[in-house]
């Protein structure tokens, strides 16, 4: 596909030129960054490491209406997202874009999910390669990288004064045209490649995933989980802020005559997530829940969909208030002796 560039001080013009798109970009509320629809292109910036809340919320919002109804009546009015509106996600990090490709496998599995798929298929992803990874990034261990192109329609490199844009799909090409970008030369390409290499070198944390998916189920009863679960708060930070966590709850809400069925983020770390009505809970303590979270990402999901449900964005490590470090868990899991081995 094409190679383009634009001057960084023309950022607002470039974004502002996307008149046919709903543009989403990282927006700050205080110190907190989240992807929000851009109302004023002059507020868009490329100077951020990554958003606090991952852009999964653009495809899978915190709360979304599945359908509406009137109380006491039986007509159901679906609230499926409008696929005709073109959305452009500007400045998504490669790890978060890669996460879409993982979650997509689940949402298109068997019954396609029209809500997720509808948003996903109408979205153009303009990625922004990382030059300054966050300390706990480990994307390079998960098959991604600071300049990974997976899932993206275009990838931008912030080269200081200019931004180099590499389009990867027709949709990306079309958006680049709409932005009115000029062609880039070899100088930009080289600078981008150098930047990517340098950024890769800055990623300090690594994990060799070899053997983990096969090993984890054998550690089902292993006490090593307790080392982490004993200090787990059972809160939703790690899962809500995970770009690949996709679990949700469905609730009906009514107000006088109006009603809706809505789905909202849910997390396997809450005890009520798996609580049966009878009071029985198959995952009653933090140990089972911690084990389920890690095993789901690194064993159950790959068993079903052939890919580990983790992109190495480091959010669960960065935001965990009690220092439960997924890399630490996985390293220890490798060292933990499986039960069979112990009894044998």
């Amino acid at each position: 596909m094409g190679d383009y560039k634009f001057a960084k001080d023309k950022l607002a013009e470039v974004v502002g030129a996307l008149k046919d798109y709903e543009v989403f970009a990282p927006t700050a509320v205080g110190d907190v960054l989240r992807f929000k629809q851009v109302e004023d292109a002059s507020g868009v910036s490329l100077d951020y490491k990554n958003t606090n809340v991952p852009p999964k919320e653009l495809m899978f919002p915190e709360t979304e209406t599945l359908f509406k109804f009137r109380v006491g009546q039986t007509e159901i009015e679906p609230a499926v997202p409008d696929e005709s509106s073109k959305r452009l996600v500007f400045g998504i990090r490669p790890c978060d874009a890669m996460a879409y490709t993982i979650v997509e496998k689940l949402y298109s599995w068997d019954y396609p999910d029209p809500y997720f798929e509808g948003r996903r298929s109408s979205s153009v992803l303009f990625g922004l390669a990382c030059s300054e990874p966050v300390p706990n990034c480990f994307c390079t261990s998960m098959g991604g990288g600071p300049g990974s192109e997976q899932g993206l329609d275009a990838l931008m490199f912030d080269l200081g004064e200019t931004v180099y844009v590499k389009t990867l799909t027709d949709a990306g090409e079309e958006a680049a045209k709409a932005m009115g970008l000029e062609a880039a030369g070899d100088a930009e390409k080289k600078a981008a490649a150098a930047q990517e290499k340098e950024a890769q070198g800055k990623i300090k944390r690594t994990l060799d995933t070899e053997g983990i998916p096969e090993k984890l189920p054998s550690l089902y009863d292993h006490p090593f989980w307790e080392e982490f679960s004993d200090r787990c708060l059972s809160c939703g930070i790690c899962t809500f802020l995970c770009p690949t966590c996709h679990c949700f709850d469905i609730q009906d809400e009514t107000e006088v005559f109006n009603g809706r069925r809505a789905r909202m983020w849910d997390t396997c770390m809450f005890p009520e997530y798996s609580l049966h009505t009878s009071g029985h809970n198959p995952r009653p303590t933090r140990k089972e829940r911690t084990r389920n979270r890690i095993s789901h990402k690194y064993s159950y999901f790959p068993e079903k969909f052939d890919v580990i449900a983790c992109v190495g964005c480091g959010r669960c490590i960065n935001y965990c208030p009690v220092n439960i470090d997924i890399l630490d868990i996985l390293e220890k899991s490798k060292k933990a002796e499986a039960k069979e081995a112990k009894t044998a």
Binding site: T63, T65, K68, E253, T254, E255, N258, G259, R260, A262
Partner: protein, 143 residues
């Protein structure tokens, strides 16, 4: 605010004093404002302050808790507990920016039909001044 605005007031009245006071106001043919939606509770001490928050979420423009005068509680001390809770909840709501005129409490005995009318008039007047309560209102089902 436009003069048309008629606030919705949710009032939690204790069964033994304030509800009887409201009854007396009615049987004495005193006219009190119809903006009030009464919920009878056995004691003002039964009112969980979360009821107030929930009422404000569901469209109330003001809330009122009314019970027996201190010392007259049918259950001896329920209204003392209610008083502590109310004082704190009112401060908390004020802190997040709720007009304090929306959050009211009163002591109305079974014989105080006239006071009941006054309390309602005042509560409605304060809510009217504060205008429609939009802050907490549930918005997701407005279609």
């Amino acid at each position: 605010m436009s003069e048309e605005f008629e606030p919705n007031i949710v009032a939690f009245l204790c069964n033994w004093c304030s509800y009887a006071g409201a009854d007396l106001a009615g049987t004495s043919r005193m006219h009190y404002l119809p903006n009030i939606k009464i919920i009878r509770v056995m004691c003002s001490g039964r009112v969980n302050p979360l009821f107030l928050v929930n009422a404000l979420q569901q469209g109330a423009d003001g809330v009122l808790i009314s019970g027996c005068h201190p010392g007259d509680c049918h259950y001896l001390e329920g209204n003392f507990y209610a008083r502590r809770r109310f004082m704190l909840m009112r401060k908390l709501l004020e802190h997040v920016g709720v007009d304090p005129g929306r959050v009211n409490m009163s002591w109305v005995s079974a014989s105080e039909g006239a006071k009941f009318k006054e309390v309602i008039d005042e509560t409605v007047a304060k809510a009217k001044e504060a205008g429609p309560m939009e802050q907490f209102r549930r918005r997701q089902l407005n279609w």
